[in-house]
């Protein structure tokens, strides 16, 4: 899967989870950029990512990520080993 395709899918996951179609994700985006991005929505995000990309994530690894860009890198590594 191309990186851009992953970004697009991620973007629509963000829009769904935060119920805001105007969200445009970027690599250096973090939880402080979206008001509703709390620990609960973090989990909803992860469950949605696992579902949409059909993969299982290591949740400890997820906790260490610095920003959205790193999350996209992680997904990319998982689906394009």
């Amino acid at each position: 899967m191309e990186r851009q395709e992953i970004v697009n899918k991620m973007n629509s996951i963000f829009c769904d989870v935060f119920d805001d179609d105007s969200i445009k994700i970027s690599d250096n985006m973090t939880s402080s950029d979206i008001e509703e991005w709390d620990s609960l929505n973090q989990i909803t995000l992860v469950v949605n990512i696992e579902k949409i990309f059909d993969l299982k994530l290591n949740l400890v690894e997820i906790g260490k990520l610095e920003n959205t860009g790193e999350m996209i890198e992680l997904i990319s590594r998982k689906i394009n080993p």
């Binding site: 769904d16 119920d19 989990i43 909803t44 469950v47 579902k51 949409i52 290591n58 949740l59 906790g63």
Partner: protein, 628 residues
């Protein structure tokens, strides 16, 4: 529905909500959502539901306290939605994570200030720490289980002393790991056996005001390997799979609804293709499927299931479009019929519309429409009942009779918080108290519903493609069959090119799909006379305006032929009473009555012709040329 279609539908629901069409949007959400849907969908249902101002929906208030030893925040939103599906606007109190004892034991805790109607103690297997030495004796195992059971019971008693709530107590969702492997199920002292014993003891210890919520059953139903996702336990203390949220929420909501508004009391059943395969009025006692063969066995199994429901106190009633004597004959004389007339609280077999019959049944039994579950194989009847009597629960019966039981089970209609002896005696009670109310007037206005059906009938000339279906319909129809004629396929084929015979078939399509070729007409042209030799129709589509539609068609054909009279004949048989007054209803005049009851009916084309109102759009088959 695929996930993509679901998402599209969800977007349109979102638009409805933005436009302020809250009730419609909620109805769409109710229809769309299934308990099996995964977490991503469930959380979208929940968030759309959340965006509807709850005062805009007709919901009853409910107060529920959730005392959990795991993270339930995501689950709560989904539970709120499923309770709304059952008609409740729920306010939920949830105790801080893992503080059940403190919350319950402190008489000044917010729990009691909240005054819950239900308290749900939401444990998981990690809360029950049972261990005995390997090889321990049964007595040691009992003692170990008893100690923990006692803690649970004490907690219930404290709650019940301070509050008049009803308690739901999770039993233990057995884990999927086994230190001893299979041996765990083979000895009494293993973790698996101890937890099973615990669940059994919990059930035996339950008391008035306490209902065990069977999480172990749900985890098995869902699949334990998926149910237990260790990652989310360690990461965020979620005790069961996100994707099981819909299942748990829906089952709990059914149970709570049963406790709050009372359980369903009566199951109203259709007969043809519901209790047996085929149509008794057409196929006869030896023609219906019951008892033998895969289909017949499936119907038999379904009847066994219904009788088991009856035994636990669910009333069985019949609502069928049939002649009463023909329908009851199956109960009296079919050797494989399990359900007896005596098992039926109210028996309605007639040609009135079903909503009226259901109202009569409810009145006769003196029960509310909201305590009725309706089962019918015909989507038309189901939709009609849904529309006219929204309080009645309508089961979406699959076509395959082997799946009937599963469809009823999935609906969880007959949940209850407790069982009493009166429950099982209910049938007798109602039988004795049934009020016979005959000759009820019809008060349902069908017209609006029929317009919504978007019916379209194709009219066509018989050809090789439909010859065999056309002939089959004539030979197998007994009920809507005016002259009891029978023809072989060869005979009908020879009529195709006969200038003095007109053959017409009618198909019917509606919102629910294609009903196929449902009526056959054979006209014999005689000097000045347009004679209806044969007119059969499937009883499935009776009373929807099709009779009127076909009669208009007969009249226009007679005009084209320049006939002076249309003559119709009715030969009474054991099964065609339903059409004995058809011609009269259609405006024909009685011309002659023969010995044996055969009647002739005529319509004088020179006099003002009857006008019919129906809601069926006409379409013509391509083979219909003027000379046909």
């Amino acid at each position: 529905m695929t996930q993509e279609k679901q998402i599209i539908k969800l977007k349109s629901i979102k638009k409805e909500i933005q436009k302020g069409h809250f009730t419609d949007a909620f109805q769409d959400l109710v229809t769309l959502s299934e308990q099996e849907h995964d977490f991503t969908l469930q959380s979208r249902y929940a968030s759309l539901f959340n965006s509807i101002p709850s005062e805009k929906l007709k919901l009853k208030d409910l107060r529920l306290a959730l005392l959990a030893t795991s993270t339930v925040d995501h689950f709560i939103d989904i539970l709120k939605f499923w309770l709304a599906k059952q008609g409740f606007r729920v306010e939920i109190f949830s105790s801080p994570f893992n503080t059940i004892s403190q919350t319950v034991l402190n008489p000044k805790s917010d729990l009691y200030g909240f005054a819950p109607e239900f308290v749900w103690i939401f444990n998981n297997y990690r809360d029950v720490k049972l261990s005995v030495p390997f090889g321990a004796s049964p007595r040691e195992c009992d003692a170990a289980v008893d100690i923990i059971i006692k803690e649970f019971v004490e907690l219930w008693d404290v709650i019940r002393k301070q509050s008049s709530c009803h308690i739901l107590q999770n039993n233990i969702d057995l884990p999927n790991s086994r230190i001893f492997g299979n041996l765990e199920g083979s000895v009494g002292w293993s973790q698996t056996s101890l937890l099973r014993k615990f669940n059994l003891s919990l059930a035996l210890s339950s008391r008035p005001g306490v209902t065990i919520f069977d999480m172990d059953y749900l985890s098995s139903l869902f699949g334990k390997n998926d149910w237990h996702d260790a990652r989310y336990w360690h990461y965020s203390k979620h005790a069961f799979s996100f994707d099981a949220s819909g299942l748990v929420a829906s089952q709990a909501a059914s149970l709570i609804a049963a406790g709050k508004v009372g359980a369903k009391k009566c199951l109203i059943l259709d007969l043809d293709n519901t209790l047996w395969g085929g149509v008794i009025g057409d196929d006869g006692l030896n023609g219906i499927q019951l008892g033998h063969g895969a289909e017949g066995e499936a119907f038999l199994e379904f009847q066994k299931y219904l009788l088991a429901l009856k035994k636990r106190g669910i009333l069985l009633s019949i609502c069928s479009k049939n002649e009463e004597n023909i329908a009851s004959d199956v109960f009296l004389n079919h050797p494989d019929m399990l359900i007896q007339l005596d098992d039926i609280a109210v028996f309605k077999a007639n040609w009135k519309n079903k909503p009226d019959n259901i109202r009569d049944i409810a009145a006769a039994l003196n029960i509310g429409l909201d305590s009725i579950v309706f089962i019918d194989d015909n989507p038309f009847e189901r939709q009609l009942v849904r529309k006219i009597l929204p309080e009645v629960t309508v089961v979406d019966l699959p076509e395959d009779p082997t799946s009937f039981i599963g469809a009823i089970e999935r609906g969880s209609f007959f949940e209850s918080l407790a069982f009493s002896n009166e429950d099982s005696n209910r049938n007798q009670f109602y039988k004795e108290n049934t009020i016979r109310s005959e000759h009820q007037k019809q008060f349902v206005n069908l017209n609006e519903f029929l317009i919504d059906l978007e019916m379209e009938s194709e009219v066509g000339q018989v050809n090789e493609q439909n010859l065999s279906r056309f002939t089959q319909l004539i030979n197998k129809s007994n009920q809507f069959h005016l002259t009891t004629t029978r023809y072989t396929e060869a005979q009908v084929r020879s009529m195709i090119n006969d200038k003095m015979t007109i053959l017409r078939y009618f198909c019917l399509i509606d919102r629910f799909g294609n009903n196929g070729l449902i009526s056959a007409l054979i006209i014999k042209l005689q000097p000045e006379i347009f004679y209806v030799d044969t007119w059969v129709m499937s009883c499935r589509v009776f009373s929807r305006g099709m009779e009127e539609f076909i009669c208009s068609e007969i009249i226009s054909m007679a005009k084209l032929e320049k006939s002076n009279f249309i003559i119709g004949k009715y030969i009474p048989s054991k099964k065609n009473k339903i059409v004995s007054s058809l011609y009269e209803r259609l405006g024909f005049k009685l011309a002659k009555t023969e010995a044996g009851g055969t009647t002739y009916w005529e319509l004088n084309m020179k006099e003002p012709l009857p006008k019919f109102s129906h809601t069926i759009k006409r379409s013509e088959s391509k083979n219909l040329s003027p000379e046909n």
